[in-house]
Symmetry: C2
Subunit: 567 residues, 2 copies
Amino acid sequence: MPYRAPLKDFRFLFDKIVGLDKVAATDRYAEATPDVVDQILTEAGRMCEEVLAPLNWPGDRNPARLENGVVRTSPGFDEGYKAISEGGWVGMASDPEYGGMGLPMTVATAVNEMMSAACLSLQLCPMLSQGQIEALEHHASDELKALYLPKLTSGEWSGTMNLTEPQAGSDVGALRTKAEPNGDGTYKISGQKIYITWGDADFLPNVVHLVLARLPDAAPGTKGISLFLVPKFLPTEDGQPGERNGLRVVSLEEKMGIHGSPTAVMEYDNAKGWLVGTEHKGMAAMFTMMNNARLGVGVQGIGVGERAYQHALAYALDRTQGKAGGSGTIVEHADVRRMLTHMKADLFAARSISLMNAVAIDMATATGEASWKARAALLTPITKAFGTDVGNAVAHEGVQVHGGMGFVEETGAAQFSRDARITPIYEGTNGIQAMDLVARKMMDGGEAAFALIDELEKTAEAARSTHEDLAQKVWDAIQALRETTEWLVDQDMQSRFAGAVPYLRGFARVLGGVTHLKAAVEGESGRKALATFYIDRLLPEHEAHFAHARGGDEGLYLLTLDDLAAA
Amino acid sequence: MPYRAPLKDFRFLFDKIVGLDKVAATDRYAEATPDVVDQILTEAGRMCEEVLAPLNWPGDRNPARLENGVVRTSPGFDEGYKAISEGGWVGMASDPEYGGMGLPMTVATAVNEMMSAACLSLQLCPMLSQGQIEALEHHASDELKALYLPKLTSGEWSGTMNLTEPQAGSDVGALRTKAEPNGDGTYKISGQKIYITWGDADFLPNVVHLVLARLPDAAPGTKGISLFLVPKFLPTEDGQPGERNGLRVVSLEEKMGIHGSPTAVMEYDNAKGWLVGTEHKGMAAMFTMMNNARLGVGVQGIGVGERAYQHALAYALDRTQGKAGGSGTIVEHADVRRMLTHMKADLFAARSISLMNAVAIDMATATGEASWKARAALLTPITKAFGTDVGNAVAHEGVQVHGGMGFVEETGAAQFSRDARITPIYEGTNGIQAMDLVARKMMDGGEAAFALIDELEKTAEAARSTHEDLAQKVWDAIQALRETTEWLVDQDMQSRFAGAVPYLRGFARVLGGVTHLKAAVEGESGRKALATFYIDRLLPEHEAHFAHARGGDEGLYLLTLDDLAAA
């Protein structure tokens, strides 16, 4: 099944909904003129459609495998990776000083979505490098930067994140990997890490691992964690891969999806590493990497969802069954139409949120203003959780549109659902995202949230003159968001946590209502029809989410463990 | 992971919620005393826990395969099937005249749920035989009954359903398989059928196919379809498998889940068949089979969901992560608690609806009353769609509770999600169920629905004296159901279809609210805590469903095909 890059949607969102012009008006991103952005999107879109998209299905059928210690990758992935790195897409948002394109994150986010849609398993490789590049840009010494950033930015080498250990998943603070000073400014790293995405690959001359570990004098918990750079091959003086370091891939996981992405168990045995940032401050450095990775994972969900949608639509436009009107295919049946419209409406909502998030990141980078930083921080868990929830729901519905054919692997619909399944889990489960939203992101007493709500109100208000009915419904939803947020910031943590996930879902529903409303105002008739569907039929869900969110923790714990186990 | 048969829940539902005593008070089911039922559940539960449950995971890892025309089944499935048939569980609800136990469908439904939970792939084999037995009991000639029913009821032979052809899925009327009279009362059947569950198996001495086909003079569409019985081996005079018939398994599908269940493409080439029922009335006979199969598939969803829940709970009770209170495991974290409680609350709602449905079937069988028949007919699509939606949602959340471990196949959580995925599709997609609910099941102008709603109101009213707050919320929800139903029966078909799925979902949410309310009144504190969670936090979803349902078709088709395809 071909993939069509949703360029029109990105252009519309950039121009009319999220305001890329604000970003292009800053000195930092002055080069991101509409023409340039258009050219970049077109070129990335072409690569995704022509080079990456055909690799997706073979990757599922021929998983990466470990053969005598070598990670053999899926057919064509070497060529696909070459296209990504040679196109400059690994370093598209990175510092031009080290070879990056220096593009706004907003544009990079659109490209990342398209690459995820085309081939999620392969896209994970450059996505992790991007995160590593950003962590090094912010925290590494000049020497490390000079040595590693050019290689990572060009995609010649790739980067990984090593956080998880068997006993330390969501609770990173429980990790045990050790780092001991060698006395020469380097460290000996020993321990086992699991779930290391693209831990190695036969087409990569070197892989650079960022590893969280504990120094001998480290405090327990997250305050005693430091970050180390540990390359597979130690670079020679002229920056070529030299001596083999003390690390290896022990095994690869057999997973429900993303079979083309090697998920490694890594063993570090007195591997040589370099400290990144300050001792015991590894979590802060890691958070730099994770925040953008979270945006990245959110758009992975959207990308896979978009592809699942296109796949389902193509099937519905082709399949005849029963007495359908119009085209004579099942797309004319009301229930099939409902499914497809629901999918498209949710994808638009999620995509608009992800780009709103990226604009905030760019504005924060370009202006350094605290309010933009807070906006970006607030939106990141919403993008991650809503984007991946939507990706899963859409992929699930895509299978449903196919009927029995959807359950047969041959049609490819099932793969999207299996691939999407990881996205609400990794880079912090969606539960963790929601807890981040209601705790860390509300430490300001809700200031960032209320500032956003004020803006949402203005958008709804402005739409009244032309779209009174829709604007009123969205206005009411915004009021519900405001009231629930006011309630939330008065609660203790346990009560917030009990309703964190439904609160995040309701928040996203309302945000999507506002961007759809704006699309109805700014767009053609199709945009308005989609917005009306969303606002009339999906937006009302926010009420149930907020009712759920306000349930609090008391009622939750009334059910004892014995009650839960009763059968 | 072991499985624990939820016997307490069944007993509570039988005694306090769905009223099995009504069924046991009829002549037909007078033997189904509480003691007997208890003994049966205990015995079935033991088989499911000890014999069937251990086969589930090996079945996933070692799919059924076709080897030189022979369907080789997964390890241990032969022994598992032997336990099911020798225990009498194939024919548990069948006519004692042919060796059945004659149990109420209510009890059989509980047993079917447990068998599905233990090993869905294997349970499909007896489930299809049960459907075939019922179709033959109602429509076959005495000769066919005498020859086949004892073998099918004992489980010595198994039965299949052959409806689907590549061009005829949801639109059964498009099928092309031909039947020509041989002149001796038998027919020659030729054609290809797909998605034939348990089309053959190496442990079965004979397989009996019920095949929908067209006679030479048949009208087009569903009015020209007849039903034929076509055995793999033609029975000899003493009822043993004799000459091989003209049919074969061409291939098996590679599926997302239920790997242990062989899904066959069947080729019929002048195979000898016998007419079941009347010429051109095959659909009516097939509906007998399908209606109960739909109840059966609904409880498959619930069964797999129950197992996924138990699996996730066990993990949450064992896994330590972060600063959890109480037991020190992640079950103490509010968001994990929320997920598990949500799962359990939905499973109870779905199970109670399925058993309410089964009671209606039993009462219809025992009394012949039209109102019970209408009740059973009304509830069947709700049980099927809601039960399977819940099964999928719960299995999805079960993966989420496991975090990264859920995505790794080794832990088994992913299998439940992959297995459950077929249940909203087969036996009529959930979209078809919803259309059946709003069209065929409302042809009475909503009479059956309003009769049920009247009863729901009585239950809510009765609960007021002890549970005023919960009762009021449920009462309000019932009013919303009534108003939406009143609106619905005034709509034309296109408008009903546009909102059919959300209407069904809202209906189920309200039904679940009523059974939870009853459980709060009748049960211990744990039941009340669970009911409060459901009524406060999940029941409010009905409003969004009904708003969606009332959207109508006009707005849906405002979005053109070009709009849908725009990217």
